[in-house]
């Protein structure tokens, strides 16, 4: 088979068409301290200014060899615009929401005034849109450019406080529903702006994970929203939900996602068996043990196991630990190259 461009390969993987070799992807963050040094784009600039953000994201293809690039490294890009406190100044850490506007139950659950315009003009929201535009200009149709949004469940963790939100899934279902309903338009607006700026597909993170909640919570609270929202996104959507999820992929597959990004807590062959014919899969090389603490040989073995199991797009499981060696990520790409179809 003729050699494909990175974007052709990624899209073929996403739609189940023939590929020259398995695609290797940056789905959520693959950036590391070492990549920051190589590209010269460091935190905090790479989280808050479009140029360094795009430069660092481009390193996923140019330095590591992945078929996709994705510039939104943290899960907090939307949080300031929604009224959360975020420390954007840290040089070593991913930014993260620290204070939630709706944690106090007397506060009315509503979006800040002026949504969506004020949201899309927020410095950090806009930064990512501009970075996507830069990446698109730079890579054209050679490399897959991914955007990323947080869905209403994860945004509820930010806006409502994670623990209070989880508590209320049992104690105050109405307030939980109100939160999800209120936040539902946010990922839609953000995804549309990212697609307009050049994103070829959208990663949609919604952490209704088996590490925290029962599968029926996903089915009863979130699935109806996903079924309504996902078809409105004018690009393929890749769900990201980490943790143990084998007990809920059936529900994920009913939501309209093109592809699901899963974690190493789920054996790839079992995940493939559950998702076969319903949606494509991407994952699931382990972060904290393999990519962070072990070497290229182990990374290679896990990437190969995912390929052998029939995972469509090979990727690390979640945001890669920032101290992971670049060589371990390159080993994932190399494994995919070694699996070239004749």
């Amino acid at each position: 088979m003729e050699q494909m461009t990175s974007k052709q390969r990624f899209l073929a993987g996403l739609y189940g068409d023939p590929v020259d070799r398995p695609p290797a992807a940056s789905i959520v963050s693959v950036i590391t301290y070492e990549l920051m040094d190589i590209t010269g784009a460091h935190f905090p600039h790479a989280n808050i200014e479009p140029e360094p953000m795009a430069t660092l994201a481009a390193g996923a293809h140019e330095v590591m060899g992945f078929d996709s690039v994705m510039p939104i490294f943290s899960i907090a890009q939307e949080a300031t615009a929604l009224g959360c406190q975020v420390d954007w100044s840290d040089t070593d850490m991913m930014p993260n929401p620290t204070d939630s506007p709706w944690a106090d139950r007397d506060v009315e659950i509503k979006l800040p005034d002026g949504f969506p315009d004020s949201f899309l003009e927020d410095k950090y929201v806009k930064c990512a849109i501009d970075a996507i535009r830069l990446l698109k200009q730079h890579f054209g149709d050679e490399v897959m450019v991914l955007g990323k949004v947080m869905g209403p469940w994860t945004l509820s963790y930010h806006c409502y406080n994670t623990q209070e939100f989880l508590f209320d899934t049992i104690m105050d279902p109405d307030r939980v529903r109100k939160s999800l309903e209120t936040l539902a338009p946010v990922p839609l607006a953000y995804a549309a702006a990212q697609i307009e700026a050049g994103a070829d597909a959208i990663v949609w993170a919604d952490h209704a994970t088996g590490d925290l909640v029962r599968n029926t919570m996903y089915r009863d609270y979130l699935l109806p929203h996903h079924q309504e929202l996902i078809p409105q996104v004018e690009a393929p959507v890749i769900l990201h939900c980490c943790g143990k999820t084998l007990d809920r992929v059936q529900y994920f597959s009913e939501a309209g996602f093109t592809c699901y990004h899963f974690e190493s807590a789920n054996p790839p062959d079992e995940m493939v068996e559950k998702a076969a014919g319903k949606m494509k899969l991407t994952g699931n090389v382990n972060n904290p043990v393999t990519l962070y603490a072990r070497g290229p040989d182990e990374a290679r073995a896990e990437a190969q196991a995912a390929i052998d199991a029939g995972v469509d797009i090979i990727a690390p499981e979640c945001a890669v630990p920032l101290q992971a060696p670049v060589a371990n990520l390159q080993a994932i790409v190399q494994t995919c190259k070694d699996n070239r179809h004749q």
Binding site: M93, F167, I170, L212, V213, P288, Y292, A293, P321, L322
Partner: protein, 252 residues
């Protein structure tokens, strides 16, 4: 079944499913009937929370179920605490808990707090993103027997070591036993940074905390008869050891 027994059974059952109003009502009824607050606590509430921990450990319960059960128990504790203080029931130990600098994951730590408190420990929670100098200040201020560090990111795990170094520098390292935990933490890593113990979940954290207390020579035989202090201590050690072996978490 006597009304007292019915109340205890009701407290166990309602706590298990987080029915806070019922738990408060039954606790008040028990107090009005003149039941021993220690019996309400150790005969009903704590066993129920232990069952919650067990169900969580085996994957039958998830985080929300655990949170609502704990909050139901807190309602009962508000009524019992003054009576327990009157009876001179002391906490079995003081624990300062925190999530390390740069890390905001706190659900795992909070669940540990709930279980430890449920077992009679006094908890001082420093919250998330806690700097080494704040750890030192808290140990100076609260003088706990135990200190618990939680970390969920490989980027923040090294702060276990920074915290321990800061404690040594302040001359406080030997005054406390340090437990560590969090999703990516392994027993080997805990060992390598010089922590005194590691636990993979909240129930195991309770067993670990009790074991460390016993190692330091404290009596953790909650509600035990003081006249039998020595034998109660031995029984407690045995019980804890047994639990550790049963759960395969005995450190060699």
């Amino acid at each position: 079944m006597s009304r007292e027994e019915e109340i205890k059974k009701g407290l166990f059952d309602h706590t298990l499913v987080g029915e806070a109003d019922e738990v408060v009502e039954l606790t008040q009824e028990g107090i009005d009937l003149g039941m021993d607050p220690l019996d309400i606590l150790f005969g009903a509430l704590i066993p129920s929370l232990q069952e919650v921990g067990r169900l969580f450990e085996i994957g039958e319960y998830f985080v929300p179920e655990m949170l609502v059960a704990a909050r139901a128990m807190q309602g009962a504790m508000a009524l019992l605490r003054p009576l327990l203080v009157d009876k001179g029931a002391e906490p079995i130990g003081k624990v300062v808990m925190l999530t390390v600098k740069g890390d905001v994951h706190d659900i795992g730590k909070n669940l540990c707090n709930i279980m430890l408190e449920g077992e009679g420990f006094d908890i001082v929670d420093l919250g998330v993103n806690v700097k080494p100098e704040e750890v030192v200040a808290a140990v100076q201020e609260h003088q706990p027997q135990l200190l618990g560090f939680s970390a969920f990111l490989t980027t923040t795990m090294p702060f276990f070591k920074s915290n321990l170094a800061a404690l040594s520098e302040a001359g406080l390292r030997d005054s406390v036993k340090v437990m560590v935990g969090g999703a990516p933490v392994t027993p080997e890593y805990a060992d390598s940074v010089g922590a005194d113990g590691f636990a993979p979940d909240a129930s195991a954290a309770v067993r670990l905390a009790k074991k460390l207390m016993v190692d330091m020579g404290y009596d953790v035989s909650m509600g035990g008869d003081d006249s039998e202090g020595a034998s109660a201590l031995t029984t407690a050690v045995q019980a804890v050891e047994e639990l550790m072996v049963k759960s395969g978490k005995h450190d060699e």
